[in-house]
Symmetry: C2
DNA sequence: CAGACCATGTAAAACGTTACATGATTCG
DNA sequence: CGAATCATGTAACGTTTTACATGGTCTG
C-alpha cells in the first residue's frame, strides 16, 4: 500500500511501460521514492488486477513489444483519496551519513573519497534537474510558469529534487574540507614530534 | 545488514539502552535513518549474540531496570569495514512529494494544509538542531570547533539534518504559496463567468 | 562481436511495520 | 486518577532486496 501511490502518481497523465517507469524511478522519482524495476513490474500487474490501471500491448518493430499502462477512473479516485488521507513521516536512509556519524572508527581518507564521489554525482543530478526544469518552463520565467501552467505538481517536485541535491553537494564539500583540514593537523602534529616531545 | 550499522554508529562512544536508542532514533537519527523501537530491541539482541555489542544490567530505583549496551572491538571493526566498503545509494520516501506530484488529482486546499503542517514540523526540528549544535560547540565558533573537537562526525551529521529541514521548510512555504495563488486565480475566473460566457 | 539498451518477469530471503502484550512511576 | 515516561519484548503480516532467468536490437 505504499509504492502503489508513487506508481499511480507517475502514471497520471503519462502512458508508460514498466521499463519506462523504471527509468523514471531511476532518474527522477528516486528523489522522493526509490524502487527497483522488478518491483515496478509486479506492482503494475497488481494495479491492473485491482482495476487502477489498464494496460495495452504496443507492437514495435526493431524492439521487443511492450505493454503500456494508463490510469483508470478508479486509479484517479484512489490517488485523490490518498492525497486527502494522512501522510506517513518521510523516511530517509543514507549510508554516507551513518559513516560520517561513525567517522572516528574508520579510515578518514576513504571517507573523503566517498564524499567526493557523492559530490560529483550530486553535480550531475543538479544539471539534469536544471535541464528538465528549463525544458518544462519553456519561454516563461519560473513565477509566470508556476501561475499559468496547467500542471504544476511535477515542476514543484523537481524544484525539491534539485534543492536536495544542491544541499547534498554543499554538505559533501564542506565535510570533505573539514576532514581534510583535520588530517593536515594530525599530519603536522605527528611529523613534528620534536616539538611535542620537549 | 543495514539497520545494524546505524545502531553501531549511535553506540560509538555512548553506552545506551534500547529505550534511549529509540528516543535518539526518533529525534536525531531519524534525519538519516528511520527505525521503530521494536526493531531496535530485536537488533540489539542480534548484535549482542553476534558479538558486536555487550549489554549489562543497570539496576535503578524508582524506575524499571534497564540493559545498556557498549560496542565491542568486533563491533568497532565491523563499523570500520562498513566505512571502507561501498555505500548504497541513499533512499528517500516521502508521501508529501508523491501527493505533490499528483496534485491535480486531489483536493488542493487539503494539500496546502499538509504543506503547512509539515512546515511547522520542520521549524520545530530546525530549532532543536540549532540548540543541539550550539550545545556541542560550547564557546567556540563553528570553524574552530570543527578543527579542534576530537569528535566531528555527529556534528557534521547534525548540520546536514538541519539543512535538510531548512530546505523542507522553504519548499513547503514556496509550494503552498504557489498553490494558493493558483486557487485565487481559479476562484477569480469562476466568479466572473459573465466575462467567460461572452 | 562486445557492450549497452530495450523489455519482462519469478522466487527466496531479508527487512520493516502493525498489532499485541505487560507493568511500574511520576506529574498535573 | 488519567496521561506521559520509562522499560522491554513477540508474532503476524506486508514490503523490499537479491538472485535467478531470458532474449532481441542497436552502436561502436
Amino acid at each position: 500500500m505504499a509504492l502503489r501511490h508513487a506508481v499511480l502518481a507517475a502514471l497520471l497523465g503519462n502512458e508508460l511501460s514498466g521499463y519506462q517507469l523504471a527509468r523514471l524511478f531511476d532518474v527522477n522519482i528516486s528523489n522522493y521514492w526509490h524502487a527497483l524495476p522488478q518491483q515496478l513490474y509486479t506492482e503494475l500487474t497488481k494495479l491492473e488486477s485491482a482495476g487502477f490501471v489498464v494496460g495495452r500491448e504496443v507492437v514495435q518493430r526493431g524492439r521487443p513489444n511492450k505493454r503500456v499502462y494508463t490510469l483508470t477512473e478508479a486509479g484517479t479516485a484512489e490517488m485523490s483519496a490518498f492525497i486527502a488521507g494522512p501522510s506517513k513521516p518521510s523516511a530517509i536512509r543514507d549510508d554516507l551519513l551513518v559513516k560520517m556519524q561513525a567517522a572516528e572508527a574508520g579510515d578518514t581518507e576513504r571517507l573523503i573519497e566517498q564524499l567526493e564521489d557523492r559530490a560529483a554525482e550530486a553535480k550531475g543530478k543538479i544539471e539534469q534537474f536544471e535541464r528538465r526544469l528549463s525544458r518544462a518552463r519553456g519561454e516563461l520565467d519560473e513565477d509566470t510558469f508556476l501561475i499559468q501552467s496547467p500542471w504544476v505538481g511535477p515542476y514543484l517536485v523537481g524544484l525539491r529534487g534539485k534543492a536536495f541535491e544542491q544541499e547534498a553537494l554543499d554538505w559533501c564539500n564542506r565535510s570533505a574540507d573539514v576532514l581534510r583540514a583535520r588530517l593536515q593537523d594530525t599530519a603536522t602534529a605527528s611529523t613534528s614530534p620534536t616539538w611535542k616531545d620537549r
